[in-house]
Amino acid sequence: MEKSINIKVKVWRQAGPKVKGMFETYELNNISTDASFLEMIDILNEQLVKEHKEPVAFDHDCREGICGMCSLYINGHPHGPDQEVTTCQLHMRKFHDGQVITIEPWRSRAFPIIKDLMVDRNAYDKIIQAGGYVSVNTGGIPDANAIPIPKPKADEAMDAASCIGCGACAAACKNGSAMLFVAAKVSQLALLPQGQVERAARAKAMVAKMDELGFGNCTNTGACAAECPKSVSLIHIARLNREYLGAKFKD
């Protein structure tokens, strides 16, 4: 049932990428437990604007858990203390009256802070640009049903493809590794017949780009999968390893 809670939020404020940041604490009263976490920040910002203060900058867009834009490291967890949700789907009913909520940006060398809680995740785009696609031009394509794909394979590819590129995996990883993100794309395309031709080249190019961008080395802690809002599984990392090692040994 809906009720209201009073909370304190400890928010990371940082004016720009090169400026030193610090925590600021704000009090919020009468927050409905039916409000989403981002709506709580909206209320905070409305309050700050009223006080003629600078509102907290944070990334958000679709607010239905699919665009991957929202981030935030809330009380020690990316996307907060609820599994299989993004921050925008996290609701205040997960918190209790009087609680102090610590909100930090993703912290990873490859995700520099832009402002406050907003980070630059362009590194993920660069990894995809390095090879996360099937090289087909528009048009001149055979019929969609020309190649049957076994349902279990298509389903597994879909599970991998459900990655939203939010960056929680790298943010959660004590090693700052982006393996789950890279694995999701490599695995999706390795499972499908359309991805076979460029399979080896893709794995090598994407891993090389990931390493170049300053992400850490995976040590299989599994924090990425535990925190992934879309439950992308560690088995995709195993497949990426397989793809990569296979490609390298073939060379």
Binding site: S108, R109, K174, N175, M179, G214, G216, N220, R239
Partner: protein
């Protein structure tokens, strides 16, 4: 060289050296277990593994494995530390899926290496090393006891402090292997939706077998000393 330059290459080296060391531990543990069943047989094995060319090659091989495993681990840990960025999280929690061992592999590794130095001093230094020195015409230690591993085992675990230290060490090894074994298989790509749980289980079983083999020796000889009243604080 991709084994050094790429993250998966480096992890591959960790994985292969780690698995080789696990195989060694399995052998070592089994051999130790023989000491419980028959100290004479144990000593016969010790004799075989004296300063022979093949034992020396194996020893050098082991040393290389350990050095590689530790060096790569140090490099990876340093790189991973840097990858987190300058600012650290002020609050950090993890779910149950993320094991204690997986988060502390390097610390466990350092503990293991530290105890390993002690262990080398306790045994290797007095056994194979003495043999080597003698073969090279030197004079060091007691050559008559150099292949009497059973003697040294009895002597060491008659000291309860050593028993405790070795048990702590073995505990660290259990944690390290518990994550290390399945993690190395995962790194080699030997996991999928079916085998994921299985290799985690295999990792646990292997870690437990290895550690139990060693623990049994410590407990057996420690208990023997207590029961025979031969407890002695020899260092």
């Amino acid at each position: 060289m991709w084994l050094i330059n790429s993250s998966i290459g480096r992890k591959f080296v960790m994985s292969i050296t780690g698995l080789a060391l696990v195989l060694f531990l399995l052998f070592h543990g089994t051999m130790n277990f023989v000491a419980i069943l028959s100290p004479e047989s144990y000593n016969a094995i010790c004799h075989l593994l004296g300063a022979n060319w093949y034992a020396l090659v194996a020893t050098v091989g082991l040393a290389v494995l350990v050095i590689l495993h530790f060096t790569f681990a140090s490099v990876l840990t340093w790189q991973n530390y840097k990858a987190r960025g300058k600012e650290r999280y002020s609050v950090s929690e993890s779910y149950d899926e993320v094991s204690f061992a997986s988060r502390n592999m390097f610390v466990l590794g350092v503990i293991i290496i530290g105890f390993m130095v002690l262990h080398l001093y306790n045994f290797w230094f007095k056994m194979q090393f003495v043999e080597i020195v003698h073969k090279m015409g030197g004079d060091f230690g007691d050559i008559s006891l150099a292949t009497d591993g059973a003697y040294y085992i009895r002597l060491l675990f008659a000291n309860p402090v050593y028993c405790v230290l070795y048990l702590i060490w073995l505990g660290a090894i259990w944690y390290h292997l518990n994550h290390g074994v399945w993690s190395s298989l995962q790194t080699l790509g030997l996991s999928n939706s079916v085998w994921f749980k299985r290799i985690k289980c295999i990792g646990k079983v292997v870690a437990t077998i290895v550690v139990l083999l060693f623990v049994s020796v410590v407990v057996y000889f420690g208990a023997e000393a207590i029961m025979n009243g031969t407890t002695a604080y020899v260092w």
